[in-house]
Point group: C2
Amino acid sequence: MTKAPATIEDVARLAEVSIATVSRAIHMPEKVAASTRQKVNRAIAVTGYTVNAMARNLRMGRSNMILAIAPDIGDPNFPNILIGMETEARANGYGLLIGHTQGDHGRAIEYQKFLNSNQAAGMILFTGILPVDAALPLPRLPPSVAVIEPMVNGAIPFVGVDDRMGARRMVDLLITQGHRRIAFIGDSRERQAHHRRRIGFDEALAVAGLRDGQTILDTDGTLEGGRTAVERLFLRDTLPTAFMCVNDQTAAGVVLALTARGYDVPRDFSVTGFDDIPQAGFLSPALTTLRQPRIAIGRTAMAMLLGLLDGVPPELNETLLMPDLIVRSSVAPPDPDRLPRS
Amino acid sequence: MTKAPATIEDVARLAEVSIATVSRAIHMPEKVAASTRQKVNRAIAVTGYTVNAMARNLRMGRSNMILAIAPDIGDPNFPNILIGMETEARANGYGLLIGHTQGDHGRAIEYQKFLNSNQAAGMILFTGILPVDAALPLPRLPPSVAVIEPMVNGAIPFVGVDDRMGARRMVDLLITQGHRRIAFIGDSRERQAHHRRRIGFDEALAVAGLRDGQTILDTDGTLEGGRTAVERLFLRDTLPTAFMCVNDQTAAGVVLALTARGYDVPRDFSVTGFDDIPQAGFLSPALTTLRQPRIAIGRTAMAMLLGLLDGVPPELNETLLMPDLIVRSSVAPPDPDRLPRS
DNA sequence: CTGAAAGCGCTTACAG
DNA sequence: CTGAAAGCGCTTACAG
């Protein structure tokens, strides 16, 4: 059923020119006589010819595909970042392919080989870790940029959200509302980005002179994690009046657990998230959160990679985009009776 | 920075054999003397050689990558289906790449060219539509299988959930609970799968002799769509006692709209979904729904495609997997006063 | 068991 | 403006 696709040879024969001329007519039309160009175009039309990218890349030692390596395509931040990347890539004649690793390092290395074969010109890593096989003696890295998670094992340019400053803005909001005891749900040694949010949290409290007695809970960033964090917290005697969560999923879990215990958010507790995932506005109460500029992150990262491909070194090693504070109804001033007396 | 990768030539020189022998040592080791094999392996280790897949594919006229073309990677059904596919692909020495079209037909055609260049051996389509450029005279199709959405413009094997039977089981549940007026929210001419759910709905009601006076609302399958559907419905005089939604997102929207109007689910209205997306169990009330066997769908589809690649024709043109009925708390018997008197 | 050679489909100096 | 030829990195009959 699958008839062999037309080759440049077929086109040349039909147009009665050499294959060199066909190649030129396609890629440098101005170097070919108008009449010849016409003959070639006609031949291309009747044969349905498309260049064999495999052969072209082999010959040119370069491809026009970019590979994005993602550990979890279920991440709600992922789709829009990807769309930003695609937009930028397409505008420059590149295509985008996604490799899914499920957090498996070995799988990432497989994709690396794909790159090494010139099947893609560069890569964008969502993983926070370089897919380098320790067994390989020469880990020559193709042009790469990191997104969402900065690299832990190597220095490649990073584009992401300003987690630290975002967190500070959120704490400031909570303090302005009158909160004095704020729990941070979701520190993580696994995820750099989460840890940075935690740093911002600390800084903002330090500035406000509220450093003491704050609660920090480690959590994996899932809804379930937020839920169990609340359970752990309720074992203590002093409760916070606000929960600042490392992301929206965690916040959703916290709200759920609080509601299940009969509390009302935001009357009894304020809860905030980070990311502004699509569902954030639909939770009840609608979640106050920080919106990641996802499309911009995608575009910026891709633009940087494309620059790298052209030999343009990135200006910054770390490009941090500011998130927008989205105030919705999950935050309110605390009950005065529950504030510490000063 | 990027030193040229080692080639088969480098390995041959170092091992003091011909490139033919190196190739054999790698791909048909039993045809090479043990001592030679050792020399080659050592040379491979010191050079860090990996085959250039580009050259290999060009020469062999076949690649070991499969391309999945998806219109929307944000679809909550997507991740697990993909995981199923990857599992099956890897077990057979294939890798999986994802192409994202954002519903753009032109983009799908780009990916098709990728296939035509032997950069991938086959494709899996999530789009419900064949990426065929009408301008191309010879739409030679690479081995392909469709998933989630059956094809509208061509016949390729399809693997999906049994939407029709699933819907029937759901209606039966509702009827058993005592419901007599059930609204179907989410028929669609755009999405085959949704329309099939609607057909199942009709059939189940016909069997129960409840065909008359049922409400059908068209909707796009989004949360927002579910929401507005409820608003439209409340303009009518006769309300249903149960809402059977075409998917979980729609159901979430319906619940939200109902709650916003001061109703309680399931006391005042029962609501059901379809898919069992990850959040379904966390909604309040937890959603009664049909669970798509996502991993199995992915594995089955990939196995079929791999079979196609080996020249094994699929047994069935349509493989339908049964969804599991997941009963949670969004369904209850209706208020007797609101039942039609018979 | 091993090597020399052809060829996959292309691009691009090099001549003319 | 156009063509003949080399070569990208591989695999695989074909000889030996």
